[in-house]
Amino acid sequence: MTVQTLPARYRVASRAAETHDTVTLGLDPVDQPIGPHLPGQFTMLYAFGVGEVPISISGSAGPGLVQTIRSVGAVTRALCEVDPGQVIGVRGPYGTDWGVADATGHDLVVVAGGIGLAPLRGAVLAALTAREMYRRIVVLIGARSPDELVFATELESWREGGAEILVTVDRATAGWTGHVGVVTQLIGRAQLDPAAALVLVCGPEVMMRLTARALCEHGVPPGNIRVSLERNMRCGIAECGHCQLGPLLLCRDGPVVSYARAAPLLSVREL
């Protein structure tokens, strides 16, 4: 197998602001595109002259990519500030995927916190395109406030496509009519069938840990819960070791990992 270690050039075809610090880029290949990808995998995005960061793939647009980026440092800030027409570098796709088809005949449940919905967007869209393969598609979303919901304009079309969507925020603003509270409280409201649910969880690590714990309390086996872990991915091909988490190199063995495997690692200090 050939692994791609040189960035391919992609032109920014579109740039949409999701929140005050998060944008979604539509990227079209300038030359040969990167290989096919699956929901949950990530790419290394290169802001020329600034640096490279791992970003989960949010979806496809023909041969192009859709990637959602939150500005949290120098590189992501540079990527968030690109204008349509500019060119950036893309390596990948790397890592494990959500394995959405494993929920065939069962319930697919997605739990997202904040920008954690970005890596899950592809999984939701993939499931909706084969809606008849699943019993229920349940999407539980938690955000700081209504202003910080990503893909807010898409949620209605997901509902129309057959997904059940519950959204909760930590702080309601005027006009908000949805839930107020933490995302773990939505688990009880969704009335899940714990024996027949594959649950995909993505968000900050503490949120994923607490969510997975709540799911287990509701009877979901740890092996039916998948989380997306992030460490300091650099090479993307399991050579440099920067993204090591115990026995895992997350750029190869992750980012998507079964909670049964991840749980013992997430409680070890300094790992």
Binding site: V72, G73, V75, T168, D170, H179, V182, T184, G188, L210
Partner: protein, 159 residues
């Protein structure tokens, strides 16, 4: 309002596992209610005498702020319990509660339940442990919200 069959009351998540004899006692102090959207169950500062075991719908706990819409503290739904203030002095609601989506609930008469508990310590123990567990869950959820879970790790500069 309708009288409540003990079997119906026993199906509520809050009472799951309670001895049938205790549920039967409690049923005598409960009525089934349907509450339309927009109705306020109670307001901050009013005497607190009741408790609701929500079976469906959505209710917001809120706090009035002069000149602004009420601040929503938390929303509650089927399976949740609404109302802790009737249990302890000063027996006044600390927040308000407004029905957001049509709700159904078992409404418990607080003073009647307290009299029952004094005469039946077993029921009192069962109820106290359940109220404690519900309060702990709410406390934990509040603590998690204080963590600002969805913010960038370490406040930023991650890449």
């Amino acid at each position: 309002m309708n009288a409540v069959a003990a079997s119906a009351l026993a199906g509520h998540a809050f009472l799951r596992g309670m001895p049938p004899s205790d549920v039967a006692l409690l049923a005598g102090a409960a009525v089934a209610v349907e509450v339309p959207a927009g109705h306020r169950l109670f307001d901050e500062g009013e005497p607190a005498a009741n408790c609701w075991l929500l079976t469906a719908g959505q209710v917001a706990l809120d706090l009035p702020v002069p000149g602004r819409p009420n601040l929503i503290v938390e929303t509650l739904g089927g399976g949740d319990v609404i109302g802790f203030s009737w249990l302890s002095p000063p027996h006044e609601w600390q927040f308000g509660a407004q029905v957001l989506e049509p709700a159904t609930a078992f409404e418990l008469d607080g003073p009647a339940v307290q009299v029952l508990c004094e005469h039946h310590p077993g029921l009192g123990y069962q109820l106290a442990m359940r109220m404690l567990a519900a309060a702990v869950r709410r406390l934990q959820a509040t603590r998690i919200r204080l963590l600002d879970l969805y913010g960038p790790p370490g406040g930023g500069d991650a890449g």
